[in-house]
Amino acid sequence: MQTSPLLDHEGLVEKAKQLRLDILEMTTKAGSGHPSSSWSSTEIVTALYFGGVLRYRPDQPWWPDRDRFIMSKGHAAPLLYAALAHAGYFDRDQLMTLREAGSPVQGHPIQGMMPGVEATTGSLGQGLSLGLGHLLGARLAGKDYHVYVLLGDGECEAGQIWEAAMAAAHYQAGKLIGILDYNKFQETGPISREIALEPLAEKWRSFGWKVHEVNGHDLKEILPALKLARQLEATRQPQMIIAHTIKGKGVSFVEEDFTFHGKALNAEQAQQAREELNATR
């Protein structure tokens, strides 16, 4: 069994920084995209791919026994692509073709268009159902892979999320692990102001899920939670890790400013962001 390249804590922090920088460069070059939504999930995805959580083989992207990772919040595509490139699925140079005509590095992920892109997402609310399907398939095929689905908070307003939540508990999908990037903002404003989600943890619990809450930027909290969730599969209860995050994390003037949703940085902003990100450690 092959696991992802294992990094220690310092290595993971450095990897998260590199991913953030790649996200910046990709979206700045493209002149569009969702850097702030990608940055809020960066530590989560870093832990999954580089902290020894996901089992995958970059040289065999569709290895039948791979753990599944489904980026349900498809607008965080730059983060997914950056992680896949760093993991070795394809060349990092390709990242800079994001959103260009003829490039497979699509604005939102399209299943199979790049190696390791497991699902077509971008119309929100759909990833959890796909994850459940992969899991029911694993059970039927006698495979023991786990399925991880990264959800945005805003997409939890969609009914399909709760249809899938109900069905996952019914089917005792203990190997289905959701991670909810709870950055508290949706496109048009604070979630609490637009369509409030609270009490969010209670909602998941009442649907039959085991809920863990972590600081979504602290790898010393995320990684143990991801590993614990994996160990709890025997409970046959689907697991939801609610990761409290900061939208735009890492770039001071983007953090918690929802007006940056879906916007690339201009040249001047990008330079400042580059300096700030490079200064982090």
Binding site: S123, Q126, S129, G133, L140, A141, G159
Partner: protein
């Protein structure tokens, strides 16, 4: 009124949905990768045949079509071949975006079965009727779209589906249909229209139940000395461009008949081919921008001009234009 009677066809004693259930069961027996996803209508669609025989490969996802489609697509990602089965109206109208992303745009190998297509489910009324399913699936570029019009072709379509690259839509129906083809020797080939009656004066192109109705209409026209070719256009995409163009060229007039809205249905697709290849006078039998009320299927077909008589009348009309 009995479908296929004037044409001398024998009516199947089971509704087409039951034939679908039998065909699905036969496929599940043969192919262990086939899984069935039900939107809590398995007893109506007859997908339940598989539930009884292979409960581990049957998933009732409940009254939640969006999730139903997503879970089905996920099972395809896990290496299985999903048949996602519900009423045509509920699947396509509730879960269109899920079908668009997870099935069509992802270009997965899977079959969506829209049962209770058209208006002939009758008394349950317009909320349950799938009168827009061909237009909706037509809006999904990767889909192969099949509308079987008899028991043998339903069996053949279900059997063929897993071998088709990309997603497939099969329309099923609540009413019994006559046998057009022998059960043991159906000339069904995806994307290839069948000439089920030869004639030189005009062509009736039918899909689904309208193939039998078209044969009835041809029998009625024959009594007046008019010989109609009848084409079974069971595959709406890919369209058999060659057969359509040849019919236009060889018979010089076309009537399209479908149990669907005229807008975006089979006829509009055929008209595009005719216009581009060999323009000839055409007429269209189908639903004209209307929601149909509850009622006995045969009363509704009559009221909304979807009978053999209506096809025959359209044939006479198109012939008079041809002769002008």
């Amino acid at each position: 009124m009995q479908l296929g009677k004037k044409a001398g066809l024998e009516l199947c004693d089971l509704p087409l949905r039951n034939i679908f259930g039998e065909a699905l069961l036969a496929l599940a027996e043969e192919n262990p990768k086939v899984v069935v996803l039900d939107g809590d209508l398995g007893n109506s669609t007859k997908a339940e045949h598989v539930r009884k025989a292979y409960p581990d490969r049957f998933f009732n996802i409940g009254i939640a079509e969006s999730n139903l489609v997503g879970v089905g697509a996920g099972l395809a990602g896990a290496g299985f071949y999903p048949f996602i089965v519900s009423f045509s109206s509920f699947l396509l109208c509730n879960a269109y975006d899920q079908i668009r992303l997870a099935v069509a745009m992802s270009d997965i190998n899977a079959t969506i079965v829209g049962s209770h297509g058209g208006i002939t489910l009758g008394k349950d009324g317009p909320t349950q009727m799938g009168i827009e399913d061909l237009a909706l699936t037509g809006g999904l570029p990767t889909f192969t779209i099949i509308v079987p019009g008899d028991p043998a072709s339903m069996h053949a379509a279900v059997k063929a589906a897993p071998g088709i690259q990309g997603p497939v839509f099969i329309r099923s129906s609540r009413i019994p249909m006559p046998y057009i083809y022998p059960m043991d020797d159906c000339p069904f080939e995806v994307g290839k229209a069948n000439i089920v009656r030869e004639g030189a004066d005009l062509t009736i192109i039918g899909t689904g139940m309208m193939v039998s109705a078209g044969l009835d209409a041809a029998a009625m026209l024959a009594e007046q000395g008019i010989e109609a070719r009848v084409l079974d256009l069971h595959t709406i995409r890919p369209l058999d461009v060659g057969a359509i163009a040849a019919s236009a060229r060889e018979t010089g007039a076309i009537v399209c008949a479908e149990e669907h809205l005229l807008q975006g249905g089979m006829g509009s697709n055929v008209a595009r081919i005719v216009a581009e290849s060999h323009p000839v006078p055409m007429r269209f039998v189908g639903l004209k921008d209307v929601y149909v009320e509850s009622g006995d299927p045969w009363d509704l077909l009559k009221k909304y001009n979807l009978t053999a008589e209506d096809i025959a009348a359209a044939g006479e009309e198109v012939l008079s234009q041809k002769r002008e």
